[in-house]
Amino acid sequence: MFTTLYRLLKTGFTNFLRNGWLSLASTIIMTLTLITISVFLILNIVLTQGIQTIQDKIDISVYLSDSAKGQTVLDLQEELSNNKDVKKVKYVSKDEAKQRYQEKFKNNPQLKESLEDNGENPLPASLEVKTYNPDKLESLLPVFEKENYKGMIRKVSYKENKEVIDRLFKATEFIKKIGWGLAAAFIATSLIIIFNTIRTAIYTHRSEIEIMKLVGANPWFIRWPFLIEGIMYGVFGTILALIAIYITLRLLAVSFNSYFGGENTGDQVFAFLLKNLGTLVVLMLGVGITIGVTSSSIAIRKYLKKS
């Protein structure tokens, strides 16, 4: 059993090496296919997660003037809470705002101390509003326009967040479309190129195959080396694709970070990759080996018909 396995692997490996340029072409196209599929899959997942994270953040901050009366603030808070699009409203006092500021700039003493200069806290109190759907933010605008709240609202800030989400949504949709299209094209190309490589391998080994049949070789002894060759394209493709993805992500991390406005998307993608390396390897091997074996099987069935 072990001897046979060894012989099959050896034959498959030798075929792979002797096929030279064709093997190289097959491995490269397999690598490109796996890179395409993996990159788009990772990007899709990370962007979806990114959207989720940002959506969970506050959608609107209503900064209140220091003169705002307690009861009016409570009225506003209640009115916002009763709106069907609003998930949560949280009151942040001046003191809490100060604490947050100090926390945020704890590594920057200059900024941290700038608050203390005249002993007064310049930061306003605010209401933080979280909606169910950031697209519905506009429906809240009339509330802030109301006469009884006008004087107490210093500033309503919401736009920035929505823009990031819109960007991510658009990017995800775009990536999905492009990703599926490219993946399908690459898979088809891989299948054709590997099919041709195996077909050539069968042709090159025709006298060997003839002799094998003549001396009563087990049919799988004739077929398996070609299947193993197909599997090898999947395995080598996976290894090369992983290396390529690693290097590319390392290089791209910086520019990703700046594009998504400091959300550290590049780092997130990289962290995601490392965290799910096992799954990714299994996925790539699965796709790669399936493509390799499918191509080989078709070629074998077509060109090794007679036994």
């Binding site: 060997e208 002799i211 003549l214 001396v215 009563g216 070789a217 036994s307």
Partner: protein, 228 residues
């Protein structure tokens, strides 16, 4: 041993019959010569016996196995019972004599230990024990054919088919091969030889079956070459 019963073979519909209603019975341990000019149907007949081709009509039974009911997965086992050698030897050029013969065992899943003991034995039998490390290109035609015979014998077949084995050889080498076939036959293997070498046919004084245009025209117990 081998029963051919009313065998007709047509390769494709438009072409003529490669074999036309052939019936032959070959007994165990027999030495039979099929004689015929090129295209007479000799090779087709050997391909039918090795199950490389199937007859258009008629029945083939070899060693009690009816080919009509033979399962595809059993064909390799049948082939191990039937050794074949050809005019062009069909040795693998990148393998040594030893490797060429061992290969036939490897692809049948035989253990390395058995291979190591059996290959030298068969090499000795064909007189190539000192050529085991040679590549086919380093051998004479006669030696290549002996290596091919060694490979054909490695599974200890019941039947050895030699399809024009002397076609590419000079008379001296040709006779060495014929002598080897006679020796194999003496050990108890049924030998089927196809040839159109008049001298060999006439000297051997064995059973001769003459084919012409796919038809069996003569079957003599001690035959002579009668074709022009």
């Amino acid at each position: 041993m081998i029963y051919l019963d009313g065998i007709t073979k047509i390769y494709d519909k438009s072409s003529k019959k490669a074999l036309d209603n052939i019936s032959v019975h070959i007994k165990p341990k027999e030495f039979v010569i099929f004689v015929g000019l090129s295209g007479a149907g000799k090779s087709t007949l050997t391909k039918l016996i090795t199950h490389e081709e199937e007859p258009t009509s008629g029945k083939i039974t070899v060693g009690g196995i009816d080919y009509a009911t033979l399962k595809k997965k059993d064909i390799p086992y049948l082939r191990r019972k039937i050794g074949v050698v050809f005019q062009d030897f069909k040795l693998l050029p990148k393998k040594t004599v030893y490797e060429n013969i061992a290969y036939a065992l490897e692809v049948a899943g035989i253990s390395n230990k058995t291979i190591r003991s059996r290959v030298p034995q068969v090499l000795k039998m064909v007189g190539l024990e000192n050529k085991d490390k040679s590549f086919p290109r380093e051998l004479s035609g006669g030696e290549m054919q002996r290596a091919a015979i060694a490979r054909a014998l490695i599974h200890e077949p019941k039947i050895l088919i030699a399809d024009e084995p002397t076609g590419n050889l000079d008379p001296k080498n040709a006779w060495e091969i014929i002598d080897l076939l006679l020796k194999v036959n003496e050990y108890g293997t049924t030998v089927i030889l196809t040839t159109h070498n008049k001298e060999i046919v006439n000297t051997l004084k064995k059973r001769v079956i003459t084919l012409k245009n796919g038809k069996l025209i003569k079957d003599q117990e001690v035959g002579r070459y009668t074709l022009q």
